[in-house]
Structures are given as C-alpha cells and as structure tokens.
C-alpha cells in the first residue's frame, strides 16, 4: 500500500523532529482540527497548540506529539510542519505542565489587561495539550 503514503517532515528551530513516510496526519489548525491523507489540495495553514497524530500506515499504531504554534505546508505528496516547539510524550515534564496550567488559570481569573490575557490563554492551551498526552 505504498501508494497511499506521503512524505512528512516536522521541523523545529533546534532539530528535525520527524522525517519519514506517513499515511495520515491529524493536527490542530487555527480553523479547527484537520486530518490529511495523500493527494490533498495544496494548503498552507497556521497551527495552534495541539496534538499531532501521525498514522504511519493504515490501521497501524499511531505516534502522538505535542506541537505548539507553527505552520504547515501541505502539497500533493508531502507535508512540512514548521513548529516553534514539538515534543514527544516522553519528553514532557508533567509536573511542570501542571504548574503552568495552574499559573495560567490564575492569571486568567485575575483579569490583568488584554495582552496578558492572550498570553495566559496560549500558555493554558499548551499546558492542556501537554497534560492530555502524558495521561
């Protein structure tokens, strides 16, 4: 079934996070969750903090990773994800993520100007993504 596979690359500023063939990729874009197979129309979209799910083959086990903010370029037979941060579940520090979650929630409740609110929302999203992966 090699015809169904496409090239997937996930790159962060510090390393090439993932490179290989994949059957389907699910991710969280700014417009909502999408899943992409081969021969998708060309599309560039912004990523929000979310879980990236990589299906390496149809029906096979999936790989999950936390991806925070970035861009994805989808072409007919390749997908390139440029992420500012990307982590495998085993790289996530659960304790730190929990602390970040509590901190972000406190900031949201205290209501300190709009700029801080946006930042706290992003921080909360990141923390929730990390926590959802380490359960």
């Amino acid at each position: 079934m090699a015809d169904n596979l496409f090239e997937l690359k996930v790159i962060t500023p510090d390393r090439v996070f993932y490179e290989g063939q994949a059957y389907m990729v699910e991710m969280n874009t700014s417009e909502g969750q999408i899943g992409v197979y081969k021969n998708h129309i060309p599309l560039t979209c912004a990523l929000e903090p979310g879980v990236l799910t990589i299906h390496e083959e149809a029906g096979a086990t999936v790989k999950k990773a936390a991806v925070h903010e970035g861009f994805v370029t989808i072409l007919k037979d390749s997908i390139t994800i440029l992420a500012e941060e990307a982590e495998w579940p085993e790289e996530i520090d659960r304790h730190r993520a929990e602390e970040a979650k509590v901190r972000a929630e406190r900031r949201l409740n205290s209501g300190d100007g709009q700029y801080n609110r946006l930042r706290a929302e992003v921080a909360l999203k990141k923390a929730l993504v990390r926590l959802s992966l380490t359960k």
Binding site: P13, D14, E31, L43, T44, C45, A46, L82
Partner: protein, 285 residues
Amino acid sequence: MATMRAIKRRKESIQSTEQITKAMKLVSTVKLQKARARAESTKPYFEAMYTTVAAMLAKSGNIMNPYLQSGASQKKAIIVITSNRGLAGGYNANVCRLVMESGIPKEDALLYTIGQKGKEILSHKGYALASDYSEVINAPLYSDAAAIGKEILQAFADDQIGEIYLAYTSFKNTVTHEPKLLKLLPVEMDTENISREEQLTPMNYEPEEDEAIGRIIPKYLCSLIYGALLEAAASENGARMQAMDSATSNAEKMIDDLTLMYNRARQSSITQELTEIIGGAEALS
C-alpha cells in the same frame, strides 16, 4: 645589552602569557565545535521557512501588507550581534565598522544590541540605544530570539521605526567569518530562485492569505534572528580561536629570541669575568 636578570624576567612573563593564550585557544576550540553543531542543526528549519515565505510572496506579488512596506517613521532599527568579551581579534570591530559604514545616518539609527562589546563601541560613537540583550549571546535560545523579534515588531507596528536591519557575523567555516548586514523589514526576497513548478502550484491559505502572511512573517524574522545568533556565537569562538592561535605562536617566537639573547648575555658575562681574572693574575705576577 640588557642584563641577564631583565631578560630572564621578561621571558618568564611571556611564558605565562603564552600559557593563558594556549588555554583560551583550547577552550574556544571546544566551544566552537558545540556552537557550530547548534548552528548547523537550525539550518533545515530556516531553509524550509525561507522556501515557504518566498513561495508565498512570489504568488501574492501585489498583496498589501504592512510587513512588505517601509513604515512612516524615518528611524531604522539595527540589531547588532557582537560578543560579551574581547580577545577575539577583529570580530567585534568588524561588525561595528559595518554598521558605521552602512550609510544609515547616526541620527536615524536605533540600536538593539546583543553583546556588550558592540554596545560599548557604538554607544561611544554616539548611536542611540533602544535596548540591550547582551546576556543571551552565551547560550542563545529560540525563545530569546522570539522575545527580541516581538519587541522589535511591536516598535514597527507602533510606527516608532520604519525599517529593520540585522548586523552579525556569518559563519562560513572555521577560518572564514564574514560580517553581514541584512534587511529584515520590509521583507525583500529574491523570488527568482523558486522553481517554475512551485510557482504554478495554486496554494490555498487558511486563514486568509493576508492574515497568513501577517502570521508567518514574524516567525520568519524570529528564525532569522535565531540563526544569526547561533552563527554569531560560532563565529565568535572561531575568531577567538584564531586570535589566540596567532598570539601563542607570537609568544613562542618572542621566547626563542629572548632565549638567544639570554644565552649571549650569559656567555659575554662569563668571558668578561675570565678576562678580569686573567688580567688580575697577570698584574700580580
């Protein structure tokens, strides 16, 4: 001829200097290898980012986006990346000279400095300083680059500055480092290198093209700043390694010369003593 004691003291002082320069050379060699590996690991990200942005701009040639035009302000921001410490040959001076000779008038320039040395030299010359991030150059992180990029883009959005430049030392290889001045904003890109096939592929954008450009360009800038930081760190260590290497070989040469002088002085003093003894003995007999 200088006395034997004076020569010996001078030789010892040069020897201890040589020990220091030798140690510094070894340290910067190790640091260079590390910095170089980091600079290389960020290349794939930057290249992918560059192709994406270039393709985007090539296809949307006539789009009006604030990031693609000079701001109203006359002020030009320059991010200057130098080192915190000296003893690196012409490394810092070259970057500063590049800024001074860039044709940007002193009154219009607003500096964002990274590295103590550049900050000292340029503020002494009368350049205005907006802010300083000297502490990040020792171990640059992506979040540092993002913070710098954010502040500078905020200033651009508030019309405090009209254009943004970046002055740093690009790392070619261990022996060649080249000071460079890049124009960051408004974005100017060489779109001719993109293949025809890529230009013809219609691309859809989510969110809308205009908003997508507005979101991707700040990221592009941050990746440029981050890449420049890492390359500058590698260049700094390369420059220091070279400077210390030539200092060590100079010291070795001086020690050789002084050893020769010392031996001559020793021999002539022995000869003199002998002549004196013989002369004295002859006078007695």
